[in-house]
Symmetry: C2
Subunit: 386 residues, 2 copies
């Protein structure tokens, strides 16, 4: 009888989160020292309810299909565990005789990991805890980048290229596209890749810099006047000069939070009303983290590798760490999986360097030096004859 | 010196319109009887301005890249030619000594084709005119379906599947997604494929049936109550009980037209305000006709074939026809390219069969019998473990 393990997902999924699950399950099976392989149904909710999925007998073919499945195959939730919850968590871990616990998530999840590890130590529990990094937002510290980001960035780069080509080939309206990222511009920045791939006019606005709406409209009017069509990409969290989100739906949800978003529609409305131009707004939204045909090959392999590395670390007796991706970019891109203490990661945030925002409406080369290798290469070469 | 030919694009592009251009150019080169190969820069605008692109010397490699290029590689426009324009059109055709003219487009373009053909005959011009069908909306008559539809339908089917999985894996909000199609539900109907591919709850609303908003919200509330998340897909042209579009932005463009759209956001707002549920709206918009990774392999090949067939017909002396796709679906799907008189096609419209709309919020099997073969097969098998 080997050691039982438990894997859980926390927060929003990415296009490759299930690849990490695949890597973890396959590593556990390859090792031979693992007993039962459990997954928490809907993340923390499943842990608290003692509702685990037993993957021990799942066929190799089913596990391999995880790599082509978006969203979380085992379910996730947004519940952040409170101090009152931890005793119940430990209860479930004991009940299923879990020897190693893996939490796949972002900042909140790494904080949870850290607390579970500390608590288990304090109670003398023989439990190993390893965090598996994941967030399309790329805002985890202590790692070169996060699994999930490369694919979200590739989606932004390619979908923006496709929209820029459409906007340029039939230049009857300014096309405004909104990309995910309420606080961090990492993903929206990748949409600026469209200018490189298509040579069509593209303006990009990130949430890190408050926009002066009049100046933004002047930029748009000037770019449109070139007569080559125009794509404007905006982050959903774009803020105006007053520091508030540009788009305020005015709607309050059941939790008392104002629902943000609709930023592209807001900019489109301003273009129509103040510039007298035709415009249309697009919002691929959650497709940015779920569109499997845009998955980055590099991201896909690294997501698998972090899952494997997590299981390998726990089986080697490590606990209290997150798997971290270390990368070199020259002479060619290469990455390796290392371990960093959870205490260093928990509740810190990696911000987008302000100096990478060029002139307020474009992205500096330094961003692409950083992000391009993560997006997977194999870029299309378009035939533009007009 | 062979016969000079001219190819033009009309109206909105599709993901495979450039494949038809590739087919036409390669057929012209293979035949050996063609002199110069011209393309109109930005469609009718280029014809009227005598602004043609000379593709005669374009490399085979560049022409082959058309197949991976979205939007129109030669440019298109929305200008509908009037009687006053036709003399200028004939002037350009004479100036460049055009022997065969190919117009790739939808209903309006086929009407234009027909008129150019009649006028050329009346003036004794030695001109052959062939229409190449194209529209993601699938509303052309006299053909089993239109090139461009299969890829738009595949995009709707797969992107809705990805959104349904996300909505189900993290069931914190009702996800509402808007698909293109102001008058016809062909594309949005394909999004109902998500229920088959994922087994997640999906409700689909087409523009052909006016919705009773209270009943729609009751459907949504009931589906949500199952606790498995929910995706609602709506057509951008969805109408309310009063026959008017559900979403009225209240904004009038420079041409005096009210800008439609925002239907998903409208439904989302109603869900939040009237049902007290969390909800978010997505609008992939133009990606529905531009997202190359979702192109249907069948659509891609048929788009190429209609381009080839058009050139072949003209070189065989035919004029006044549109290439039409004839298809059989049993025992296996097969299609062939035929010719139908432009007079039969011009200004008619293929409507979505009302009997294919099941219960107002789903799509009948008959639709999938019709549309599935066009979407290209090779469907992903997802691993859903929760």
């Amino acid at each position: 009888m080997g050691m039982n393990i438990l894997i859980a997902h926390g927060g929003g999924p990415t296009a490759v989160i299930n690849r990490s699950l695949q890597g973890a399950v396959e590593a556990a099976r390859d090792d031979g020292r693992v007993g039962r392989i459990y997954a928490a149904r809907f993340g923390a909710e499943g842990i608290l309810a003692g509702d685990l999925i037993d993957l021990t007998g799942a066929s190799a073919e089913l596990i391999a299909r995880l790599g082509q499945t978006p969203a979380s195959a085992i379910g996730s939730c947004r519940r952040k565990l409170t101090d009152a919850d931890y005793p119940t968590v430990l209860e479930t871990l004991k009940k299923f005789d879990i020897g190693a616990f893996f939490y796949n998530g972002g900042n909140d999840s790494m904080d949870t990991c850290h607390k579970v590890n500390e608590l288990a130590k304090a109670e003398g529990l023989d439990l190993r805890v390893i965090g598996i990094p994941k967030t399309m937002d790329n805002d985890l510290t202590c790692t070169d980048h996060c699994p999930g980001f490369g694919s979200a960035a590739r989606f932004a780069a390619l979908s923006a290229s496709e929209l820029a080509l459409d906007a340029s080939a039939l230049p009857i309206h300014v096309v405004v596209a909104e990309y995910m990222g309420r606080n961090a511009g990492w993903v929206t920045a990748a949409s600026a890749m469209a200018a490189r791939l298509t040579n069509c006019p593209v303006l990009t606005y990130l949430p890190e810099v408050a926009v002066d709406e009049d100046r933004m409209l002047a930029d748009i009017e000037r770019a449109w006047a070139q007569g080559r069509g125009l794509l404007v990409t905006v982050s959903e969290g774009l803020r105006g000069a007053d520091g508030k989100p540009l788009a305020d739906t005015g709607i309050v949800d059941g939790f008392g939070h104002v629902i943000p978003g609709g930023t592209a529609q807001h900019v489109t409305d301003a273009i129509i009303q103040k510039l007298g131009l035709k415009s249309r707004a697009e919002k691929p939204g959650l497709l940015g983290r779920a569109a499997m045909p845009y998955v980055s090959a590099v991201d896909r392999e690294e997501a698998y590798a972090v899952g494997r590395a997590a299981v390998k670390a726990a089986l080697a007796g490590k606990s209290g760490y997150m798997v971290s991706i270390q990368a070199v970019r020259a002479p060619v891109y290469a990455s390796s999986m290392e371990l960093v203490p959870l205490a260093d990661v928990a509740n810190a945030e990696k911000t987008f360097p302000l100096e990478w925002i060029a002139g307020g409406n474009a992205v500096a080369d330094e961003f692409f030096d950083y992000a391009l290798p993560l997006m997977g290469g194999d870029w299309p070469e378009y035939a533009i004859l007009r």
